[in-house]
């Protein structure tokens, strides 16, 4: 039916085209501007709450029976501020992106709504309000993922995302209903006050259910499968918002409900912290492994999100475990690491997705095997992605370095006098963090080196042109945030201190690490000065450049020369290493975990079997967890659905009977 509409395309008159273009521009500016404005308000509100004390707002008429209860404290304020900062950068970027990529009116309308919903989640002060805002956020993000619903991959990703996010919601709903019933109220304050009376069985159930629900939102293993599907298919500003801001809400939920509200009654048992650490470490290592072999730029970044959320969860778990052993000072260190990692991840992941979006807008490509040579064609975007990749790799001068350093310090300084558990867990965690960092470097070198350097591997990459000013401005904001968290985390010092003080169960009373020009750790000797390292490194590089000039007056003038082609005529761009070949050694080393499907086909000449005519190499890197875990579940559900279908023969009489019986059962049960 729909094809009939396309059979007679109406040719628009020049006036119509012009008007449509003007209208599209107005929409882009309105949507982007509103998003950026909301973001700015969020940053201001978050900071005012962190430094000025909690705020409260009650709108009784909005929700029947219970009303909407908004309570913003320091912890919520931090997440509102981070979401706001991400949204401000994304909003400005969207102005240019929407016009270049012809985003439709509907997603542009939902974008500010999504941002508003995300900022309401940490502000919710009661169970009902939280569930309402959570569902609003999920629904808005689903609409945005489906922006380009005319493509089949987008629809499939949308279905996947919708199912997983709703299952997660069901788990959260159940957990919060239990919490609210056991805590004797709807508002968080009431529940916190009486959380000591909640029986331990209920506490365990709530912990496991929230871990399931919030873990799936944060993209933790094995509930990460929606991330590498939904993030690549969503428009890039939406990917940035989801990956840098929305996944944080999962972390927020874990902190708020498990560590803050439930932690206020009893100190959490050892195994809670341990469970968080295990989930975090496994997610971090698996995420980074997948990222290091991914060839789709946005899929790589999505897996990197799983990795970073894993590291944050590991830090949270360490804080919980250490505080359950009474090591409050080190727990405060781990908690600061978690908060700093949230900030730095938001900064570099926003930047990375926005830069990937401008590559996508310029070339139509996400496949690293076809990219390359962008450094000369899109210098601004290349620098931006470089800053993001440096941040994601956790090297000095990168945004992620200080957070990872704090995490490592908290792990190596844990008490080990008579606790065998800590003696075993901490070294293994250091190993996991280190492997994550090492593979993260490989993934980011691949993304930047193959995608942006070298020579273009396709005509589309060859024809790339630089992103417009508004997109570069949006990226510039995120890059500034990256630089601050890389060389001057001192600026975040007072902020994190306030948030930490508001979390007494995680060592809030103990002195946190001092984030001055030198980061010093209380109670132990350990310090680092990222700003000073940056300055010293610049001096050292200049010194090295000066050394290389030595003997320069004997030199002939500098020239450019073609690359060495091993004596052949010339090198074609097809002879370069691609992302697939770059990651092949790692894929081979981690063969047992990654389980790639590779297929080598050698065709010989008919005349002689010793001469090879051609070799075909095919490799498919699917997600092994998804294949092993999800496929059987989906198959079982499908089989069950087929079975249930027999009860739907299409007879209205039978359906009416079902309805009547169902009502009777409800009445009998509810009586």
């Amino acid at each position: 039916m729909t094809t009939a509409l396309h059979e007679f395309p109406t040719v628009p008159t020049p006036g119509q085209t012009l008007r449509a273009a003007r209208r599209a521009r107005v929409h882009a500016v309105l949507s982007g501007g509103l998003t950026a404005a909301l973001g700015t308000v969020g940053v201001a509100l978050g900071l005012s709450v962190i430094f000025g004390g909690p705020r409260e707002l009650r709108v009784g008429w909005l929700l029947p029976l219970v009303g909407v209860q908004l309570n913003l404290d320091a912890l919520g304020g931090l997440f509102v501020a981070v979401t706001g900062a991400v949204s401000a950068a994304v909003g400005i970027y969207t102005v240019g992106y929407a016009r270049r990529e012809h985003l439709a009116r509907f997603p542009l309308t939902v974008l500010p709504l999504f941002v508003a919903a995300m900022m309401l989640v940490p502000a919710a002060g009661s169970v009902t309000t939280f569930l309402l805002t959570w569902e609003l956020m999920a629904a808005a993000s689903l609409v945005l993922v489906l922006s380009e619903h005319h493509r089949a991959e987008v629809r499939s990703a949308g279905v996947f995302y919708a199912v997983m996010t709703q299952l997660g919601f069901a788990a959260i709903l159940l957990a919060l209903v239990l919490l609210s019933a056991a805590g004797g109220g709807d508002s968080f304050d009431t529940i916190s006050a009486s959380s000591g009376d909640i029986p331990s069985g209920t506490r365990t159930a709530i912990f496991l259910l929230t871990l399931l629900g919030f873990g799936s939102k944060a993209g933790l293993l094995p509930l990460h499968a929606w991330l590498p599907r939904a993030h690549p298919e969503a428009p890039s500003p939406v990917s940035a918002l989801m990956s840098a801001a929305m996944v944080n809400m999962g972390i927020y939920g874990i902190i708020r409900f498990d560590l803050d509200i439930l932690g206020q009654g009893h100190p959490s048992p050892h195994w809670w912290g341990l469970t968080l650490m295990i989930f975090g470490a496994v997610s971090a290592v698996f995420g980074v492994l997948q990222a290091s072999v991914a060839t789709d730029l946005k899929r790589l970044l999505a897996y990197s999100t799983t990795e970073n959320m894993g590291l944050i969860t590991l830090a949270l778990g360490a804080a919980a475990l250490l505080s359950s052993y009474g090591a409050m000072a080190v727990a405060a260190l781990a908690m600061t690491a978690a908060l700093l990692l949230i900030l730095s991840h938001a900064a570099f992941k926003t930047l990375a997705f926005l830069a990937a979006g401008s590559v996508l807008a310029a070339t139509g490509l996400r496949d690293l095997d076809k990219l390359g040579g962008l450094a000369r064609r899109m210098p601004g975007t290349t620098v931006m992605f470089g800053i993001a990749a440096l941040g994601a790799s956790g090297l000095p001068l990168g945004a992620g370095f200080v957070g990872e350093w704090l995490l490592l310090q908290s792990l190596i300084h844990s008490p080990h006098d008579d606790t065998t558990l800590l003696m075993l867990v901490m070294p293994l965690s250091v190993g996991a963090v280190a492997l994550t960092t090492g593979l993260g470097i490989a993934a980011m070198v691949k993304a930047f080196g193959v995608g942006f350097l070298a020579r273009p591997r396709s005509a589309a990459a060859e024809a790339a042109r630089e992103a417009p000013a508004s997109m570069l401005t949006g990226m510039g904001l995120a890059a500034a945030a990256c630089t601050v968290s890389a060389v001057a985390p001192v600026l975040f010092g007072p902020l994190l201190e306030r948030v930490l003080t508001a979390l007494p169960t995680l060592g809030g009373e103990a002195a946190g690490p001092m984030l001055g020009a030198y980061l010093r750790l209380p109670g132990v000797t350990g310090s680092i000065a990222p700003g000073l390292i940056a300055v010293a490194l610049v001096v050292a590089v200049l010194l090295a450049l000066a050394l290389a000039r030595w003997g320069g007056r004997h030199r002939p003038a500098a020239v450019q020369a073609p690359l060495w082609a091993c004596g052949a005529d010339s090198l074609s761009p097809r002879m370069q290493y691609t992302a697939t070949s770059f990651a092949e050694p790692l894929q081979r080393v981690f063969d047992n975990v990654l389980r790639p499907e590779t297929d080598v086909e050698v065709t010989h000449y008919a005349e002689s079997q010793y001469l090879v005519e051609k070799v075909t190499y095919r490799t498919l890197q699917a997600d092994p967890v998804e294949q092993r875990l999800y496929t059987p579940v989906v198959r079982a559900v499908t089989a069950w659905a087929q079975y249930v279908r027999r009860a739907h023969p299409g007879s209205v009489h039978l359906y009416l009977a079902y309805g009547a019986i169902g009502l009777l059962v409800v009445l009998v049960v509810a009586r």
Binding site: G372, A454, G526, A529, A540, V541, A544, A558, V559, S581
Partner: protein, 323 residues
């Protein structure tokens, strides 16, 4: 600035200058040891310096199509190594930069240099450049866990990852140097230093067969002054890491936090001797081993990772209470 800290600044500057001047000599010495053991005359200890001088006077050639990444990478490698030379406690304990970067920071700087060169290899857009970069980054990724765990093991006795604290704790309590934890950490660290500096059996620094190259394939497009800088930097990396190794496990002779001129002199002579002995042993050892097949290297690194893990656990279980 007091007179004391002036002396520690002098010691740090001396460290940097000594590494700059001495690194090519260390490499020359190693080649000479190897040549003699193989029955050759060898080019002499000063040959790397003569090579550097020659390269520095050659024409600057930029391969077509490369970007600023290719042009700057040698300076970044050399710069990170110089900075590491200024941070490490080689001659004296009191480097003014010691509180600015602990051992984790030093490892990070080391990897920053590696990353710069791998990006340069990719930037050339040749098959060899990409091949070298891919192999180098794979090894670097697998080396990182071992390095950080070895750092962890070393930081247990001094309860700090800052280098001066580690070395001072070892000098104060020499008994722990022969503890199982320390010995295991020594072996683990030795393996990763061999891997990180591209020595046998992980990589062959004198290979001329592109297909087996790792480091050399990556820098194949460099010539003239930039090649000089790359080779100088790689010699400095080797020297600095050998010096670090020497002082972590044989901390004697190092000058204190506020050294006297005599202390600096003694520290200088002692560290030079330690590095020369270690370098000679490494060169002599290399004569007797062949390069490992590339895909066997991860097994070696996995072994060193296990050693490092055991080192941490051992230093926990056998820890001597310090307070």
């Amino acid at each position: 600035m007091s007179a004391m800290s002036v002396m520690s600044v002098v010691a740090t500057l001396l460290q940097v200058v000594a590494v700059l001047v001495g690194a090519p000599l260390v490499v020359g010495g190693m080649r000479q040891v190897r040549a003699r053991l193989e029955g050759r005359a060898g080019g002499g200890v000063g040959q790397p310096w003569r090579d550097l001088r020659k390269q520095l006077r050659k024409q600057q050639i930029t391969p077509l199509g490369t970007t600023v990444v290719f042009a700057l990478a040698p300076a970044v490698v050399a710069g990170t190594t110089l900075l590491i030379a200024a941070i490490l406690p080689l001659i004296s304990l009191g480097s003014p930069l010691d509180p600015a970067a602990d051992l984790f920071g030093v490892v990070g700087l080391l990897f920053l240099g590696t990353v710069a060169l791998t990006l340069a290899g990719l930037d050339t857009g040749t098959a060899f450049g990409g091949m070298g970069s891919s192999r180098e980054i794979t090894i670097a990724a697998l080396v990182e866990p071992t390095i950080l765990l070895a750092v962890f093991a070393l930081s247990v006795p001094g309860q700090s990852a800052n280098l001066a604290a580690i070395v001072a704790a070892a000098a104060d309590n020499p008994g722990q140097l022969v503890s199982p934890g320390s010995l295991l950490a020594f072996v683990a660290l030795a393996i990763v230093i061999i891997a990180e500096t591209g020595r046998l059996p992980v990589d062959n620094p004198s290979t001329h067969l592109e297909l087996t190259m790792i480091h050399e394939a990556m820098v194949l497009e460099y010539a003239g002054p930039r090649l000089a800088l790359v080779e100088w930097a790689s010699a400095m990396r080797l020297t600095v890491l050998l010096g670090l190794m020497a002082n972590l496990f044989l901390p004697w002779g190092i000058a204190g936090a506020d050294p006297s001129p005599l202390g600096i002199l003694i520290g200088f002579v002692v560290i030079s001797l330690k590095i020369l002995v270690l370098a000679g042993a490494l060169a002599a050892g290399e004569v007797f081993i062949a390069k490992l097949r590339y895909f066997r290297v991860p097994e070696l690194l996995a072994g060193s990772f296990l050693l490092a893990l055991l080192a941490v656990t051992a230093s926990y279980f056998f820890a001597t209470p310090t307070n």
